[in-house]
Amino acid sequence: MADAEGNVYVYGVASAAERARLPDAGVAGAGVRIVEHDGLAALVSDLDSGTLVAAREVRAHWRVIEAAAASTTVLPVRFATVLAGDRAVVDQLLEPQADRLTELLRSLAGRVQLAVKGEYDEEVLLREIVRETPAVSALRERVSTRPEAASYYDRIRLGELVSGEIGRRRTRDQRMALAAFEGHAESIVANEPRSANGAFDLAFLVSRDKVDAFGAPVRALSEALGDRIRLRYLGPLPPYSFVDEQRAQGAPSWA
């Protein structure tokens, strides 16, 4: 029921000229429809009630984006974005951002996002640190020969050194990973890994016809990293990381 007064959940923005494929149901089981303005089409659902069951709606949200992105370029909107009706969709999103959204749709057309994430093998990492850092190795020796109570501050210092070494390696490995993909992507976003043993988390903007060729640098990097870092290579995704205003075109940006 197209209720121009009620709240609408916004999934993303596509070009109105292209007919985005819409799934039957989106969040809260509501149908998915379009709000058009100035050549832009916002993908929305009407919300009956004021609450959403979060986890379920993440899945529904993804299904809508996935279906639409399969047929056309979609600029995804952040999860859980609700506007106060169709009028608001125009007044707060499509109209004020018309130029930027149009330009984004143009520059992202035919492009997808590929992700390469690296995770440390903890044991290999720690061994390497002990082996390659004399200060760590020496302190480890010292700590092992003293009773725990006496070595409290030494242990803190040891852990601190190890923590610093991990940080240094992370920086170095991020650089190495970025270098491996130079020239293979139109744009790159490097995220801070959010997990404890994350080494790097990279998002690449690649045109669809270059996706197959992208596998070569991924494999090369994997071999160069050996058993220190395990790679995960994911995609293609809608260009989630590339709709951000602050991002510099062409240069890797640290998100």
């Binding site: 986890a55 725990e148 409290y152 404890a196 994350g198």
Partner: protein, 87 residues
């Protein structure tokens, strides 16, 4: 070494007592609770289980929902996700 054993072997500095201990337990609980790598690993397991057709159904959904909820909770506490009522 388990958490409790680990805590008990730490030397007690002058002012430490049950409050300090409780805080360390709290930290540990938080660290585990908020460690995203565990949550994401769990979600990946579920994806794989579904893909392999091993397990399915509402139980799996329930676990998945709970894991997603934790991710949202982390972000909510960090102010990264909207939280409030409509209107």
């Amino acid at each position: 070494m388990g958490l409790i054993t680990g805590l008990l072997t730490l030397p007690l500095a002058p002012v430490r007592g049950t409050v300090w201990l409780a805080e360390r337990i709290q930290e540990q609980a938080e660290r585990e609770y908020y460690d995203e790598s565990a949550i994401l690993a769990g979600l990946r397991e579920i994806d794989e289980a579904r893909a392999a057709g091993d397990v399915d159904g509402p139980e799996l959904d329930e676990v998945e929902d709970a894991l997603i909820e934790r991710l949202l909770e982390i972000r909510r506490l960090a102010g990264e996700v909207p939280d409030g009522r409509i209107g």
